[in-house]
Amino acid sequence: MSSEKTERLINLTLGLLASKRYLTKNEIFRTIAGYSGTPESMERMFERDKDELRSAGIIIEVGGLDPLFEDEQGYLIRSSQIQIQPNDFSKAELILMVLAANYWSQSNLDDSAKNALLKIASIDSGVTEQIDSNNGQLLVQNFNHESSQIRSLISAINSRRYIKFTYKSLYRMVAPIKLENIQGFWYLSGLEDRWMKRFKVIRFESSVIVLTDTEPFDKDQLMKDSTFADNSEMSLQKLQAFIRIGKCNNLRKNGLVKPHDGEWESLELGFTDQEQMIRDLLWNGDDVQVIAPTTLKSELLYRLQRLIK
């Protein structure tokens, strides 16, 4: 790591942020500390610096200085595009944000929540000091996913970049459209070729690679040309089973229960996630007997056999 380069990047940010007008490259090379060498080397240095600052979320605006000379471009950073302004949030809103960020203090999104809290403490330190602990507050625990995976997906959705990952042993290239957390699990909806599919993030078999070196995709055009894939993993199925009277409380509370005989009741229950359904049925052991679907019944019996040595 070069301190000189870091110093130059900070000086460039400050210089462009302080300027009230677009600065040309020549003005930048002449006035911002750290640029030296031949015009070509300064040019290369500046191009790399711009890319690096942009990768950190610093928006550098490019604008023409004179409408008659289009090739004379200038550069500027607007405070409103990179800094929180004094009147952006009221004190009541800052308090709400601190409470919202504190929810995540035991989850794997804690790092991002803490960074948000640092920024709130830079606006009004009193607010974060007032509500510095989770005394009595609700906490989101775990999150079942590696935070880096979720961060990559959010970033790709925001920047409309294609992503690559392995899912069900296949290498996929997907245009990510939507990320939903349902009952603690994240689901990604995205376009693979022209098919809109839904992927359960916990079942990703590799890290997500965001393709930053390709052009952003045109979401509206892709959506117009897309077709919804039948994702059997999430399609609605109906469970038919017998459950022992007074047992299987986790199943009966969401299903339709009818009397059957002196020992058993019949149960009908809709479900979308077969894997979760199998776990719920196994949880109840010999207090439940599955009638249908037969594929689910076969899988259940297979798993029970595996428990016996």
Partner: protein, 302 residues
């Protein structure tokens, strides 16, 4: 791994406004807040001290003092405001506010939260495509919160999932959490004197007791040692139950996990419901009980 220049730039842009709002802050506190060591804080401050606006005279440089372990910004130049929330921070805030909407009762506050969510989301088009759904607020959520804040106990009629039966419990709630979309609370079971986790939507009835929840009760150490193997396909189990494990290591396609658990019935059901991705090695007698239950279940289909 060495840090990139752009990571240091980002931190410098965050450090200056933070110190400006927190004058006289200790270097050790800064290190803790920014999750770096004190040496790195000093290196950052020395670097920031050399930066400023074109001209670079003392009037144009960022001016700060860091003596006797205390730091103050005298002149931040244009770094007088924090950076905007990045996309992940914005998502965390907006989703946190969604959870808050689920548990509050005040309609005026609800409107403020909606407005705030819109304000944060305005700069990030992705946020409208990211959602977080939880169960609806459980019926007894407010009563559990009240018991916790007033340090009182609760009489519960509870549908226990692990025992699959309705039980009467006398508990002192300690904390509330959200996991897998469900609301839970941790409480001291006053009868067994052990810590227990309760899912709020499984409470059938609940009332506040006048008996204050004692702070002096101790948690029993009467717990079974367990030892099992989890297939990496079900990695989420290692995260979901991470608080139970005292030791976990990866061996090829599986994780080897050890820990303590005082609820044998729960442990038994956990292994059966995740078969064959969890294999139990210890306790041996529990392993035998699991096999017996699997045999009884298979017998239903013969």
């Amino acid at each position: 791994m060495s840090e990139s220049a752009v990571d240091r730039v980002s931190r410098a842009l965050d450090l200056v406004p933070f110190i400006l709002e927190n004058p006289g802050i200790e270097i050790s506190a800064l290190a803790k807040k920014f999750k770096i060591n004190e040496k790195q804080v000093l290196a950052d401050l020395e670097l920031i001290f050399l930066c400023g606006l074109p001209g670079y005279t003392p009037y144009e440089l960022i001016d700060l003092t860091f003596e006797d372990g205390l730091v103050t910004v005298i002149d931040p130049q244009v770094l007088d405001k924090p950076r905007l929330f990045n996309e992940i921070e914005a998502v965390v805030l907006v989703l946190g506010l969604s959870i808050m909407k689920n548990v509050i009762n005040d309609s005026k506050r609800l409107e403020s939260i909606n407005n705030l969510q819109e304000k944060i989301a305005a700069k990030f088009s992705a946020i409208e495509n990211i959602s977080f759904t939880t169960s609806s607020k459980p019926k007894f959520y407010d009563l559990v919160s009240e018991a916790m804040s007033s340090r009182r106990s609760l009489n519960l009629t509870y549908s226990s999932i692990s025992r699959d039966e309705i039980t009467q419990r006398f508990v002192a709630p300690r904390s509330i959490y959200l996991a897998q979309g469900n609301f839970y609370f941790v409480a001291l079971d006053r009868k067994s004197n052990q810590e227990r986790h309760f899912r709020m939507d499984l409470i059938i009835d609940c009332e506040l007791s006048d008996d204050p929840g004692s702070e002096e009760q101790t948690i029993s150490e009467d717990a079974n040692l367990f030892d099992f193997r989890i297939n990496t396909r079900n990695k989420y189990l290692t995260e979901r139950y991470s608080e139970l494990f005292t030791d976990i290591s990866q061996q090829g396609n599986s994780y080897h996990a050890r820990g303590r658990m005082n609820n044998r019935e729960w442990l038994k059901r956990l292994v059966i419901s995740n078969a064959p991705d969890i294999e139990l090695f210890e306790p041996a007698d529990l392993k035998k009980e699991i096999e017996e239950r699997a045999l009884r279940t298979l017998a239903l289909y013969q």
